[in-house]
Structure formats: structure tokens, C-alpha cells
Amino acid sequence: MIRYILRRLITMPFLVLGIITLAFLLTTVTKGDPLAAIVSDRQMNDPEAVAAAKARWGLDRSLPERYLIYVQNLVTGDMGTSFITRRPVAQDVMFRLPATMELVIAAMIVGSTIGISLGMLAAYYRNTPIDHLARFFALFGSSIPVFWLGLALLYVFSVKWGILPGPGRLDPRAALPPRVTGFMTIDTLLAGNVKLFADALWHLILPAFVLGWAVAGTISRLVRANMLEVLDREFILTARSKGAGELRVVIRHALRNTLVPTLTVIGYSFAYLLTGAVLTETIFSWPGMGSYAVDAARGLDFPAIIGVTIVGGVVFLVTNLITDVAYVIANPRVRLG
């Protein structure tokens, strides 16, 4: 097991290098002119800015040299300057990352809860209308375009019924709490402002649900399949013969045996959540990495696009690694065997 972990840790830097290389290749194909990937149209007319950019990225050198400089810059945290915000991309991304993390984590909680519950219901009431309904609900969630669902729910819950707040992380009139972690929920708590904390939670509900419903489908399918297999096993009969009630049998005995693959799938759905976050943030005006990427894409802000892509890739890589390792650790046969 240790060897597996070590092996994964060692290949990590190479994969990161691969990510950087791929990103570099993208900059070379941008509009046919590598300069266009670094200097905005406006700046093109400014000879000083152009000269500075050329120096920083070695544009006058050969391709391999440019690559090395690129990697070097990236490793030291220099991802270029955003055309739109005029700030270093690295700074922008780091500033907006926590908002995305908050949304994705909330979505994972919502999605897992829905997915596990639906999967359990579907397995326990196998082949009854409840099963079919649960499966349909899950399928529906993974078929509906996230951006459309967000719009639709915003319209219904916020505009028409006024139950849930509109886009954004907080009431636009509220004063932001001092930024500690970048997580609105945590920061408001740390500032001792309970009302603001509630507001932050309230604003989190809709986007988290929209994003989470999508992964709930995948999770529920897996939980259902696993539960079906487990519920057929002999120890379930033993538990019943001991006099255990159905709820106890399902939760204490069956569910605990499906935990490991379920957690794995939850970990892997992180990828889908990152993807969906891009669109969800746009709809809900959530100031995270996703909406940053969208603004960058719309505005052809190449340093920002590439920057977000690299960071997204690294985050994705790390979460996959954590999930893989956690699976190996948690699997009692591997752990104790």
C-alpha cells in the first residue's frame, strides 16, 4: 500500500509538467501569434509593454528555450497578467479559488446526500415504483443542462416565489466580512456575524443544489448497485435473524459495507463538479474561478484562460490522488490483508 502511495506521489510532478506543457502548446497556437497569448490587443500598440512581455517570456528565443522559460515562470508562480483585470493571473486565481471550493464542497454534500438516499431507496425497494421514481429523478438530474436548471430555479424560487435569494454570495447591500479564508460561510462565522452567516448559507443553497443534483445521479446509480449486492449477502439475513429492525439492517449493516466505493465515486465526481461549477458560477454571479474562466473566455483573456486551466488541472489531479489513496487505505482487505 505504501508503495502505491509513493508511486502516485512520484508521478504527480510529471503529470503537472504534462499539464504545463499542454498549456504551453496552447499558447503557441493562439491566433497564430504567441505574442497574442501574452499581450492584449490594447497593449500591442505599446512598445514598452510588448518589449517587457517579450523579455519576460523569452519570445525572441527558440521554441525549446521559450518552453523552459515558460515552465520556470510557472513554477515560480508567474502565470502572466490578465488582460481584463490587469492583475497577475496567479493572484486573481488564488483570490477566487476559495469561492469555487466553497460551492463545490457544498454541492458535493448536497449531491452525496441526495445520491446516497436515492440509491438506498432504489435498492431497498427494488423494482417497485419507488425504485423507478428514484432512478428517474437521478437520471433527470444528470440530463438537465446545469445552466438551464440554474436559470429555471432562479426564476421560480427567487423571482416568482421569492423564497430564495438571487445570484451572488451575499445580499448585495451587506458589508463583506473581513476575508480570512475566502469561504463566506467560515469568514462570517469568524467575524461573529450570525445573521450574515445565515445569509451566506441561504445564498449557497440554490447553486449547491443545481450543481449537486447533477452528480447525485452517478452516485445514486453506484450506491444502488452496491446496495443490491450487499443486501443479498448472508450477513444481512443474520442481522435480521438476530431481531434487528429493517432500518438498522440497512444503515448499520448494509450501508457500512458500501461506504468505500461510494466515497470513491464521490471523490471522482469532483471532476464533474469542477466542470459544472464553471457554468453554475456564471448563472449565479458567483465570484469564483469558474466565472473568472468564463469572463476570460468571452474576453479572449488568454493568460487568464491558460492560468485557470492549469490550476484547474492541478486541483483535479490532487483530488483524484487523494481519492485513490483514500480508497486504498479505507479498503479493509487491503489495509489488514
Binding site: 510529471f14 504534462g18 437520471l139 438537465i144 445552466f147 448497485a225 468564463v294 479572449l300 484547474g312 488541472g313
Partner: protein, 278 residues
Amino acid sequence: MTALTLSSLRRAHWISLPLAIGFAIVLFWLAVTFLAPLMTSYNPLDMVGRRLQAPSWEHWLGTDALGRDVLSRTLHGARHSLPIAVVVVTLSVGIGAALGAISGFVGGVFGSAIMRLVDVTLSFPPMLLAMAVAASLGPGLENATVAMIIVWWPVYARLMRAQVLEVREREHVEAAIAAGASKPRVLLKHILPLCWTPVLISATMDLGQVILLAASLSFIGLGATPPTPEWGSMISDGASQFYSWWVAFGPGLAILTIVLGFNFIGDGLHDYFDPKSK
């Protein structure tokens, strides 16, 4: 001789209800792809009515901000989304399966190199990578198509390689090699035919996912350019016309139904090949 009816197929356990519904939906949209011009009298690109009209008898799904008929644009949207999805999946499968099969069969440095490329590409969240590639290449549906192929082919490469690795160990392959068959022949005639099933099932389900991805790209402006009636960009228009809900309703419903259709097919195929999980 029982009639070849829906119920007879169901009783023979060939198809289940979700599978049937899925097929029906997909067939419907296939028909729309070909017959859209015949199904609606309005030209999707022309202004045919007052702007932002709510759904009415003349315009079943209302009109958008430029006075175009939403229903007609929705139906015509299929003529863009479906062919693109088919192209993306076909080429991704073609490239990915080929590379994956070679990598699995030949192995060696070349095989490893391919797999490293696959690993790196799959390290990106698909949407972000697609966005980055599409942005670098410039707006337009063709570039978006290329971006999607770049994002998707590694999936099939990995899948095909796993299949080839497994089938390679089977006895009839050993027998063929022992009988003197050349390597390409072994791969093509003995290994590949057994590898196709999971790839095909995956590809079928991915058609829906590609449609979603294409719509997402168009939504943020990286796919279709106006005035093309592509569903994603139509929803984007609808987002700016928030209070005229019908503008986004048509295309959204279209995407939902067709992806649901493909998901039903996928689910049905899963049940068919693994009835234990029913």
C-alpha cells in the same frame, strides 16, 4: 409466430421501458434533424414577429429578442447539435480507439507515450480544457468541435486499451499467434471484434454528454456564433432576457429531452448486459 410488437419484445426481455422511451426520443430528434424545415413554417433566422412575445397560437414558444420564432429555432438547433455530436463522438472513438488499441497491443515506448498523453489530457476538468482550446483556436462551431475531440478521445483510448489488454490474454489469441498470424491480423481479426461492445455503449451515452458540452461552450460564447440557432447560445440569450422565460425554455427542454433519451438508452443497455443489477 408472435407479432413483432413492443410488448412482445418486452416480454422477451429484449428491451425495457426506459430503453424504448430512449429510442423513441432519439429517433424523434433524428427525424427533427432531417425534417425541421418541413416541421415549421418560420425561418429560424428571420424576424417573423414582434420581439419577446409570450407563447401564443402563432408562436408556440414565443419569440426572442430579435423577433425570431423560438420553436423554429429550437427545432433547427437539432440540425447543428446532433451532427456535431455524431462527428465528435465518431472521430474521438476513431482516434481514441485506434491509439488505445495500438497502445494496448504493442505496448512499449510508444504505448506508454500514448498513455501518458492520455493521462495528462484526462487530468484536466473537461470543460476547462475545452474552453481553453476553443478560446485559443477562436470562436466558431468548427473550432469547438476540434476542442471537444481533443477533450474526448483519451476516454476511448483508455477504454479500448483496457479491453485490448484483457482480450489479448485469451486463448484464441495465443492460438492465432501460434498458427503464424501476423500481428496486425491478430489485432484486427481476433482482438478488436471482442472489444467493441463497451466502447459502443460508452459512445452512445456520450452522445448526450457531447451535446451538453457543445451547448455549454456555446453558452459562454465559444461555440456557435450568432445568428446560428444553437441551443446553448439560445439559452445564453434567454439568460439576458430573464423575465421572458420562454426564450430559454425551448432550447433547454430540447437539450433535456435528448440527453435524457441517450441516458435512458445507456441505462437500458446497462441493464441488458448486466441484468443482475436490475
